[in-house]
């Protein structure tokens, strides 16, 4: 017997600035395991996109292969989407956003898709600073192939059968920061309060925003000895710095500035408000961030929040000095001036 989620028009349902209800940002019913962290992240994405009043047709969702890469089917069914080859989501994303710079790009990947088969692509999309949210649903395990350790599994953690992981792990956030990413965050699927504002800030950020989200695999990695289980993550999670996105239209209240808070103003007029939970942490300095991460990693703690931000890294379009007009909006003659124009151009290069 299959089951469907009924659509019910309830009295008192709220709508956002463009008149859509939360349910309008949902997708098909998830076929992932019951209790999967990925579904929680999907719900956080739905919430964030709804709150930001993003038009569904303005959005493109892309993914590779894996449990995580099924996610784009589960939110905003009115958006564009591309489910690509294993580990090759960054290439597709780069192409899509090169062609239409007005799109809001969300790439959903997993620890296998980004840190194993797609590790090379991961580095280069960061380096190019493609304007997108690059979300890694990180569960430390290959769920689709029955629970082998993935590249993000911590050394010393055990599999469901009790086997101990011997290899060192690839730390997605440290890798991203050291590769020069302009926005790096980490969160937990079970902490919606932290995750939703972080997703909003990442979408608003004008560059490649990497979000590593610990997302427990209920079927293969939620046991004792796992370092990516619900219980372990809750016990060892450390909030270092929180982020709130304030839209350009919103009035900034004085209460936002309580405590150790400072604003990062974005080019579109909105503001990311950073609230330091730990005064020692400075998310605008790369070596401070990396040092802090390493200190706490060695204690077994999982540092979460907006870990690094740099507004001044140029994005792909600025680097390549591309036209401000999306290519898809350009006339064919202008986009493709013909062989005569090419010959003229080549003449000048001789």
């Amino acid at each position: 017997m299959t089951f469907a989620r009924p659509k019910i028009n309830l009295p008192g349902q709220k709508v956002n600035e463009i008149g859509l209800a939360l349910r309008d940002y949902e997708g098909s019913l998830s076929t992932l395991c019951a209790g999967c962290g990925h579904d929680s992240i999907t719900a956080a994405l739905v919430q964030a996109l709804w709150e930001m009043s993003i038009r569904p047709e303005q959005l493109i969702k892309m993914s590779g292969i894996g449990c995580s890469s099924k996610t784009p089917a589960y939110f905003v069914h009115g958006a564009h989407g591309f489910n690509s080859v294993h580990g090759r989501m960054p290439s597709v994303a780069t192409g899509a956003l090169a062609g239409n710079r007005d799109l809001v790009g969300i790439g959903v990947s997993g620890d296998g898709d980004s840190l194993s088969i797609g590790f090379g692509q991961f580095g280069h999309v960061i380096r190019r600073n493609v304007n997108m949210l690059y979300l890694i649903e990180n569960n430390g395990v290959y769920g689709l192939t029955k629970g082998q350790f993935s590249a993000s599994a911590d050394a010393g953690s055990t599999s469901k059968k009790g086997e101990v992981n011997q290899m060192q792990n690839i730390n997605a956030v440290a890798t991203a920061i050291s590769m020069g990413a302009s926005f790096v965050g980490r969160s937990f699927s079970g902490d919606r309060e932290q995750l939703v504002p972080l997703i909003k800030a990442a979408i608003a950020h004008p560059g490649c925003a990497v979000l590593d989200v610990v997302s427990p695999c209920v079927t293969f990695n939620d046991h004792e000895g796992s370092t990516k289980s619900y219980a372990y993550t809750r016990d060892h999670k450390l909030r270092a710095v929180e982020a709130d996105l304030i839209s350009p239209r919103a009035e900034i209240k004085a209460s936002y500035y309580a405590g150790d808070t400072h604003p990062v103003r974005l080019h579109d007029g909105s503001t990311i408000l950073l609230r330091k939970v730990d005064p020692d942490y400075d998310p605008t300095r790369r070596n401070n961030a990396l040092g802090y991460l390493e200190r706490h990693r060695s204690r077994g703690e999982i540092v979460t929040g907006l870990l690094y931000i740099d507004q001044n890294v140029t994005d792909m379009h600025s680097q390549s000095r591309t036209t401000a007009m999306p290519l898809k909006a350009m006339d064919y003659e202008r986009l493709n001036p013909g062989s005569e124009a090419l010959r003229e151009l080549q003449k000048g290069m001789k």
């Binding site: 089951f3 009924p6 309830l10 009295p11 699927s189």
Partner: protein
């Protein structure tokens, strides 16, 4: 907030809105599921256990369950519960072998029941199987009381009435017809072990205005209906005015049409929102072209030479604020011609036959002082139930009064305390069958309420007893049963199993679940995913969850019992469980050497 105590049967009972709203606590979702499976006999018996007259009530019940129905809170019409009850009754087979039976050996106790209406019949139904001798005194030549002579036969056919009354009388009740009890003292002197008064509220209210007693053509509604029922009246004038807009008024206007009236007006003093009649009864009357006139206050009966010419009314204007009349003005006067006037402005209790020196005390409004739990009067061994206890209510209330009074009578006759009552019982049983499989129809069906088909207007008035409602056909029944949300399949939460993965919160189609930090109610409701709209509806608060010490909160208001929370729960912290509620009846108080399970515990959920 404190952890919700779901072991108190009232908690899950309140979630089953229809059952909570029904005075007799009929297990509505259970019998609707049985109808869906075509098990009409079983559905009938589930009904009969609590409401005794499913065929009768399936036509004329006041339906407190329907305004309560959860479906009605979702911008939709409630499930047609009453119509489905009729489906069970109409399509049942022979169920006589499943009815309670009176033992050959009696227990030597004799109970007198005054009046042969629903209250007395229910007492007999409960006490006969325990070996009591029940003696019913009925003033008329037939039993049924108000059900027979205040409800016209076009709404409740006599065959339906007779069959269900006979189930009880055939058990061995002794009934004396045409026997009006004229003296309580004389009755008490006959030495009964207990006396139950179920004689109703038989006196129609008067309208003492000029001209009232100058003509023969002004009738008291319930008396007039009774005369029609017993064929003493078979005609009425062409133009008829009905005064009052209660359900009796609706019966009077529709009966008038069947006795030859051509122009019937129901005269209301107030605007429509203050009408006492059930919405569906108003609709049925208007369908028959009865005109309902608002804001007309009766002033006088105009009689010339002993002949009724009409009535004059004052035209009223009201200032209404928040649904209440704040002020009223008379703006004019109008005369409306008519041949007959029927007064249907209410009923009251009347006990001229109870002597006031017997220790049965009355309040200043001539109503007996009756205990609300035991239904005993101020004289031990004398009980009241139905309309005679607390004034006019309806059949389903009379049945519930009688169930409770029967318990009291039994306790009284056994010399035991009347106040010591057995608790209600709750049994929960999982409905999980396997992966994605639940043993109930969990999917939400967006179908709209089915409409009852009526006999066409041109055929309707041929005979007084022609039943107007045709009953649901198979297709309508199949659709309507699926509209029931199965509120008795409860969402049961075990906080110790929850890993706080949020899967249930995300899947819930009505956002009725939230995991948040605890607080007092005012604070907690501000953090719920969906706004709390019905503050009467219960809020479930779990114990502290293991990992974060937060709590699971569920607003029961909009839960559609689709089971998706349980479907999506990786640890089975949510489960869908049928709540089988049982409400002890007199038979459950019988203790014998071999009594293990009480009778009320023997019913198993289907």
């Amino acid at each position: 907030m404190k952890r919700t105590d779901t072991s108190n049967p009232d908690y899950f009972h309140q979630v089953v809105d229809c059952q909570w709203g029904c005075p007799a606590h009929t297990d509505v979702p259970e019998y609707i599921r049985l109808i869906a499976q075509g098990r009409f006999d079983d559905a009938y018996m589930v009904n009969r256990e609590s409401n005794v007259f499913p065929g009768i009530l399936g036509r004329v019940c006041d339906r407190p369950c329907e305004p309560a129905c959860r479906r009605g809170r979702m911008d939709e019409k409630p499930v047609a519960i009453c119509r489905l009850k009729r489906v069970a009754a109409d399509h049942r087979g022979d169920i006589t072998d499943r009815l309670p039976r009176a033992p050959k050996e009696k227990n030597g106790k004799k109970v007198a029941l005054v009046g042969g209406g629903p209250a007395s019949l229910t007492v007999a139904n409960d006490l006969l199987p325990l070996g009591y001798e029940c003696v019913i005194f009925e003033a008329q030549a037939v039993a049924g009381g108000l059900m027979r002579y205040n409800i016209p036969a076009f709404r409740l056919p006599h065959e339906v009435l007779n069959e269900e009354i006979d189930y009880i009388l055939d058990m061995g009740a002794e009934i004396h017809y045409n026997h009006r009890v004229e003296s309580m003292k004389a009755l008490l002197d006959e030495g009964y072990d207990a006396v139950f008064v179920g004689s109703g509220a038989p006196r129609g209210k008067e309208l003492r205005l000029p001209g009232r007693y100058d003509t023969e053509n002004i009738h008291i509604g319930i008396d007039w209906l009774e005369s029609v029922a017993f064929d003493h009246i078979d005609a009425v004038g062409k133009k008829v005015l009905i005064i009052g807009v209660g359900n009796t008024a609706m019966d009077c206007c529709r009966t008038s049409l069947r006795l030859g009236a051509e122009n019937v007006k129901v005269m209301a003093r107030k605007p429509r929102e203050f009408f006492k009649a059930s919405v569906w009864e108003l609709e049925d009357a208007e369908e028959e072209n009865v005109e309902i006139v608002v804001n007309h206050s009766p002033k006088e009966f105009v009689v010339e030479n002993g002949k009724l010419k009409g009535m004059s009314f004052e035209l009223m204007e009201y200032t209404i604020e928040n649904g209440r009349i704040q002020d009223q003005d008379v703006t004019g006067e109008v005369f409306i011609a008519c041949d007959d006037v029927i007064l249907a402005i209410g009923q009251e209790n009347s006990f001229p036959w109870i002597e006031r020196d017997l220790g049965i005390e009355f309040n200043p409004w001539e109503e007996p002082m009756v205990d609300e739990v035991t239904y005993e009067s101020t004289r031990g061994g004398v009980f009241f139930g139905g309309d005679s206890a607390f004034g006019p209510k309806n059949i389903i209330w009379a049945v519930e009064h009688a169930h409770q009074a029967a318990i009291s009578i039994h306790r009284h006759c056994q010399g035991e305390s009347l106040q010591d009552r057995l608790p209600d019982l709750l049994n929960l049983q999982s409905r999980k069958m396997g992966m994605h499989e639940w043993s109930y129809s969990s999917t939400f069906d967006p179908a709209a309420r089915r409409k009852m088909m009526h006999v066409p207007l041109e055929q309707r008035f041929e005979a007084l007893g022609k039943e107007v409602e045709l009953g649901f056909d198979a297709e309508q029944t199949a659709k309507e049963v699926e509209r029931c949300l199965n509120c008795d399949i409860q969402t049961v939460f075990s906080d110790s199993l929850c890993i706080e993965c949020d899967a249930c919160l995300d899947i819930c189609p009505t956002q009725c679940l939230t995991i948040t930090s605890n607080g007092d109610k005012e604070d907690l409701v501000t953090r719920l995913k969906a706004p709390v709209l019905e503050h009467e509806q219960p809020l479930f608060v779990s114990g502290e969850l293991k990992q974060t010490s937060r709590v699971m909160v569920k607003d029961e208001n909009f839960c559609i019992h689709c089971g998706l929370c349980a479907e999506r729960c990786p640890t089975a912290a949510w489960d869908m469980q049928k709540s089988l509620l049982t409400f002890p009846k007199a038979a459950d108080y019988v203790s014998g050497p071999d009594s293990g399970e009480r009778p009320c515990q023997q019913r198993k959920a289907g």
